[in-house]
Amino acid sequence: MSHSEAEIRKHVRVYITVFIALAVLTIATVLASYFHLPLKQAITLALFIASIKATLVAAYFMHLISENKVIHSILLLTGFFFLLLLLLPAMR
């Protein structure tokens, strides 16, 4: 990747922001678990926060936000089969 210097400095600021967001979300999800919500809500909330964190990591640290189409298509395909795999326990 050939980035200009200014661009990378801008990136670094984004990385720090994302890092802070990740830390805050981690604390939030731990705190939420102390409230002992009913199981369904607890699972939904925990997975929701985890998904936001994962999206942040994938989008900014792994540069998916500026990545090329070929990578996106591979991940889309994988994502489809991944979901299929997660649906597997429902097959009975």
């Binding site: 395909l77 994988t78 089969f81 299929l84 795999l85 597997l88 097959m91 009975r92």
Partner: protein, 575 residues
């Protein structure tokens, strides 16, 4: 560029730990062929027991350890080991390494016009990881209790409480899966990135397409089996109960395990791989057949684009049909309806491919060379294999046929006279490119006709036996009255199997003698169009003398107005 840069390399670097895709491809091919033969030998032993239950094996019997045969009579445990290892070796150590590792490695860079694979070191590593996996599998025979004996599917809870060989099987599988992953990532990157200038996706030979789809299947379908393998390994080594239900009673005693596991989980994860695996076995074979048919009919493949779309659709759908192996596990009618429908849908692209290949023969000036004979034979053989699969995909018929010899006949028709015939065709077709010499046509034809007769002698009677209700893993088929009636068929099958082994002798001799004494081949002995024939024979290190450019599609045979009946991809203008 072709002048050998590797000339000054020591022997072990040039031929053993080589990063050259051609050497790795040859290593894969030779190892794969050896394992195929070994797996076949296991089956020939089993055939004695099946044809002549509990009679001592003449002469050979004396060489076996008393834990496997007592005075030449095979023990049931040993029979189970042979069965489990035959399946494992044929699929994971024989056909896949041959089709994807051997042909894929050798031909993909050549056909896309690349000097080597995208990651040559990774390529070497994938072979050696495969080799280690093979050694582990092979060594498991010498364990005190012998090798794995729970079938190639390794269903728990049986496999979890089985002997030590199962642990070796699981460790071996982890190696084989890792090797396949590395190899297929390499193939995908090579195809997408290293293709020559002008070689657009729709100018790919169909073989390249089949390798691309196959590699994607391996990348996405193999890891769930690796996960399942790790879980079963934990069950066996760490005493967990992923697949062990609570309160399991084995030989009258309640098993000491925490319980709470689910044996069906294994079946789901296993078939999530193993159905795409079927297409891993068949797609490269279709690719090889398409190449050989285009070259030997001297006309373009009929419906090339349709073939490509069908292969992609086949790959995609293969992920959505796995539970048709599990109709008898008590799944709801809703689920089974879904999987019956997807199973019927997936037969459509297979039929399209088969039809297009048959139509390719129409109006061609066919050259009945040995590879072409094998390729033509692939069509009806795969057709029988495919069509006999339909009743298995419908629950009403599957209820009766499940786990009988009918199933064995069905998938062997797909894999043995189907895929393995295509692989033989490929060996005969590309042998001149690899070694610089042709194999003998006469002995090739002897090999073909004998193999063709005997292989049908093996698998055709199995359908009758299956319809009669003979179960697939029976040690003694005469144990039940309904087996007695069809027992003579078992004798026919066994003699066919042993004769099939004899029919391979012309091939083996032809193979080795031709390396040294075959007729010298030119660079393009078959007058084919694809890029691998544009290299010197045999290709040197770096493959192409000058970087190839591609000007046309893969199968431009008998172009009107052209001087020759073939127009190679790399030549500009009408040739």
């Amino acid at each position: 560029m072709s002048s050998d840069h590797s000339h000054d390399l020591p022997f072990w670097k040039k031929y053993i730990f080589s990063t050259d895709h051609k050497v790795v491809g040859i290593q894969y091919t030779v190892t794969g062929l050896l394992f195929l033969f070994f797996g076949f030998c296991l089956m020939m032993l089993m055939r004695w027991q099946l044809a002549f239950p509990s009679q001592p094996l003449p002469w050979l019997g004396q060489f076996f350890h008393e834990k496997t045969m007592v005075s030449g009579i095979m023990l049931p445990e040993f029979y189970n080991q042979l069965g489990a290892m035959h399946g494992t070796i044929m699929i994971f150590l024989g056909v896949v390494p041959l089709a994807v590792g051997g042909f894929g490695n050798y031909l993909v860079p050549l056909q896309v016009g690349a000097p080597d694979m995208a990651f040559p070191k990774l390529n070497m590593m994938s072979y050696w990881v495969y080799f280690i996996g093979g050694v582990i599998m092979f060594c498991s025979f010498f364990l005190p209790d012998g090798s794995a004996q729970s079938g190639w599917t390794s269903y728990p809870p049986l496999s979890v409480i089985a002997n030590q060989g199962q642990t070796f099987w699981l460790i071996g599988m982890v190696f084989l899966i890792t090797s396949s992953l590395l190899g297929s990532i390499n193939i995908i990157v090579t195809i997408v990135h290293l293709r020559a200038e002008g070689l657009t996706f729709f100018r790919f030979p169909f073989f390249i397409w089949s390798q691309l789809v196959t590699s994607f299947l391996l990348v996405l379908a193999f890891p769930p089996l690796e996960a399942a393998g790790i879980l079963q390994l934990m069950d066996r080594v760490a005493g967990t109960s992923f697949f062990m239900p609570s309160g399991l009673v084995v030989s009258g005693q309640v098993l000491q395990a925490s319980g709470g596991g689910n044996p069906l989980l294994w079946q789901h994860l296993f078939w999530f791989l193993a159905h795409p695996e079927v297409y891993v076995l068949i797609l490269p074979a279709m690719g090889i057949v398409a190449e050989i048919m285009a070259c030997n009919t001297r006309k373009p493949i009929y419906g090339y684009k349709m073939l490509v779309y069908s292969a992609i659709f086949l790959g995609f759908m293969s992920f959505l049909v796995w539970a048709h192996h599990m109709f008898l596990t008590g799944m709801s009618t809703k689920m089974s309806s879904f999987f019956q429908i997807t199973t019927m849908i997936i037969s459509i692209p297979s039929v399209i491919i088969l039809t297009a290949l048959v139509l390719s023969l129409w109006g061609g000036s066919i050259r009945f060379t040995t590879p072409m004979l094998f390729a033509i034979a692939f069509l009806p053989m795969f057709g029988i294999g495919g069509l006999t699969g339909l009743p298995l995909g419908l629950t009403a018929a599957d209820l009766h046929l499940h786990d009988t010899y009918y199933v064995i006949g069905h998938f062997h028709y797909v894999v043995a006279p189907g895929t393995i015939f295509a692989l033989f065709a490929g060996v005969y077709h590309w042998f001149p490119k690899v070694t610089g010499r042709k194999m003998s046509e006469f002995w090739g034809k002897v090999h073909f006709w004998l193999s063709f007769i005997f292989i049908n002698g093996i698998f055709m009677p199995m359908f009758s036996m299956g319809l009669a209700g003979v179960s697939r893993r029976l040690y003694d088929p005469t144990q039940y009255a309904h087996g007695l009636a069809v027992q003579p068929l078992n004798v026919v099958i066994s003699y066919s199997a042993w004769l099939l082994a004899l029919a391979q002798i012309p091939f083996i001799l032809n193979f080795f003698i031709s390396i040294f004494a075959g007729k010298k081949a030119t660079d393009n002995p078959w007058e084919a169009t694809t890029l691998e024939w544009a290299t010197p024979t045999p290709p040197g290190h770096g493959n192409f003398l000058t970087e190839p450019k591609v000007y046309r599609g893969p199968y431009e045979y008998s172009v009107p107005g052209a001087q020759h009946d073939f127009s190679p991809q790399h030549l500009e203008g009408i040739n």
